[in-house]
């Protein structure tokens, strides 16, 4: 038995602040495999320009697409910054086209520049959970479904995140936000049960930050009910947890909304700022 330094392909390194989890070797292996080791790096994993629907030929080697995208999925273990972009390309696994391959290559180019980055786990002063949820309404040009995402912190360290296309079409941005809020709530509640099993006591109910005022009001008061009957289950689920004081929902301005990076492509400047807050850092200098 030894101290952990390599677990599930993840390099564990001590830093002055705590631990660094990195998949440096794994990233380089993917880049080598994809023949992208000598590509030109870019600063963000996904372009902000809107995709247009053009007649797009199917990508010649669908298996290769699936293998590389599958490999990228595991990389999100330590890289929340690519979670949104990887989820986006995962949506085309069944029939990838040439333009989808361009999106994959963009992620690989981003990784080329940030291969040594990893997730920084720092010492927590208080054992408290807080989450962020966000949605990009009707973002999918093909079917107008929205993209939702959440991010949950354990004090200063991000421990759980997700980005996904919502399963049903939302008729308003509030509805999309509310669905994301329900997903985030379910995750926070699961983590609370996990903390109970781990016998870690937490003082206050976790706060979930949401940047849509409508969705925050919703969780507290049964207003606008007629317009939202079809989101009733999500609605009651979140309302119930708030009423039982298991969670709190608060409003946060979009600028500080950390789950933004899980619901939409961001320009480089704000992406880099968010990445810092996601605790995805370059390795500590020796």
């Amino acid at each position: 038995m030894g101290s952990v330094h390599y677990f599930l392909g993840i390099e564990v390194q001590s830093t002055s602040m705590g631990l660094m989890l990195r998949q440096h070797k794994y990233t380089l292996d993917i880049l080598t495999w994809a023949g992208m080791l000598s590509c030109k790096p870019v600063d963000s994993p996904i372009s902000t320009s809107k995709a247009t629907i053009l007649p797009d030929p199917l990508f010649s080697d669908a298996t290769r697409f699936r293998q590389i995208v599958g490999a990228l999925q595991y990389l999100t273990f330590t890289r929340p910054d690519i979670c949104f972009a990887v989820n986006r390309v995962c949506q085309f696994m069944h029939a990838p086209t040439d333009s989808h391959w361009v999106v994959v290559k963009r992620i690989l180019r981003y990784l080329r520049g940030t291969a040594s980055h990893g997730l920084h786990i720092t010492r927590s002063s208080s054992f408290a959970l807080h989450g962020f949820t966000d949605a990009d309404w009707a973002s999918s040009v093909e079917d107008r479904k929205s993209t939702g995402g959440y991010l949950v912190f354990f004090d200063q360290t991000p421990i759980s995140w997700k980005s996904s296309k919502q399963r049903t079409v939302a008729r308003s941005s509030t509805e999309a936000e509310y669905k994301a809020l329900a997903d985030g709530t379910a995750e926070v509640i699961w983590l609370q049960y996990l903390l109970i099993d781990l016998q870690i006591s937490f003082a206050s109910a976790p706060i979930i930050w949401c940047d849509n005022l409508g969705a925050t009001y919703f969780s507290a008061n049964p207003v606008f009910h007629a317009r939202t009957k079809h989101v009733e289950v999500d609605y009651h689920f979140v309302r119930d947890r708030v009423a039982k004081k298991e969670i709190q929902i608060r409003f946060i301005s979009s600028r500080d909304q950390l789950a933004d990076v899980f619901s939409k492509p961001l320009p480089t400047s704000s992406f880099t700022a968010f990445r810092l807050k996601l605790r995805v850092d370059p390795p500590p200098s020796a």
């Binding site: 038995m1 030894g2 101290s3 952990v4 330094h5 390599y6 677990f7 599930l8 564990v12 705590g18 631990l19 989890l21 070797k25 273990f77 997730l119 786990i121 720092t122 010492r123 927590s124 002063s125 054992f127 949950v152 354990f154 004090d155 360290t157 991000p158 421990i159 759980s160 995750e187 699961w190 983590l191 049960y193 996990l194 903390l195 099993d197 781990l198 016998q199 870690i200």
Partner: protein
């Protein structure tokens, strides 16, 4: 603390008796690529001795007993898999061989029933890392060698004798497997069940929300154990971790 999950290796006389590989001079240094078939591998001393070691380990583990073939049995095949293990600098660490069962010929309901084996959730790993860092706990890693070979089979599974290691006295017999082998449909599930039973027997509790997380607590001391198939992490308040070994 030592968590020994590997059966102690004992030299069994049967191991030498079963070998029917003719001895002829072998090439000492094998090529850098991995062989695909037995005949290709057996020409090289490194692969040959690795296969012998593997067979001996299987015998020591009492993986199977030879039984007469019965027409009602579904007999699965077996084959060798070869892998060169390299260090991070690319130099060769060892030549690894594995006897695997051709599980794809197993029939559901007859040869296996349950196959699901849980693995730890990513969020749990990160949360436990975060707690360990905050509490200043060391995180230990356990390596389980040949993890799947520890699994106990609850169904009768029969396998052809390994290619070129056929018992010369009983060539028409087949192996009745007692322990699981890599390649069997139920191997991960059998291993998880065995480990789960063991951990519960020594006082761990399984988490209700993530069944690959085990918790051990005595008074104010607590210890967490995370299982990802054969990769195991262990952390907790130190006084407990430093207690004498529990062995299997």
């Amino acid at each position: 603390m030592v968590l020994r999950l590997r059966q102690p290796k004992t030299a069994l006389s049967t191991a030498t008796a079963t070998s029917s590989v003719a001895s002829f001079s072998r090439v000492v240094s094998p090529p850098s690529h991995e062989p695909l078939v037995f005949n290709d591998a057996n020409r090289y001393e490194a692969w040959h001795s690795a296969m012998h070691e593997e067979i001996q380990a299987l015998h020591a583990n009492r993986t199977w007993t030879l039984v007469p073939l019965n027409p009602s049995m579904n007999v699965v095949g077996s084959r060798w898999v070869y892998k060169i293990k390299r260090r991070s600098n690319g130099s060769i660490e060892r030549y690894k061989t594995r006897m695997v069962a051709r599980g794809f010929t197993q029939q559901e309901g007859i040869d296996y029933s349950e196959t699901f084996s849980p693995v730890i959730k990513h969020a749990t790993v990160r949360l436990v890392f975060s707690i360990a860092v905050s509490c200043g706990w060391k995180i230990h890693q356990l390596d389980i060698h040949n993890a799947f070979l520890n699994g106990v089979l609850d169904k009768e599974v029969y396998m052809k004798q390994p290619p070129s290691f056929v018992d010369s006295a009983l060539p028409s017999y087949v192996c009745r497997l007692h322990k699981s082998l890599y390649g069997l449909k139920q191997a991960p599930q059998a291993w998880y069940t065995r480990l789960n039973d063991f951990l519960l027997s020594i006082g761990f509790c399984a988490s209700k929300v993530d069944t690959s997380l085990f918790i051990f607590s005595v008074g104010a001391d607590i210890c967490y154990l995370l299982v990802y198939v054969d990769d195991i992490l262990l952390t907790g308040s130190n006084s407990l971790l430093l207690q004498p070994s529990f062995s299997y």
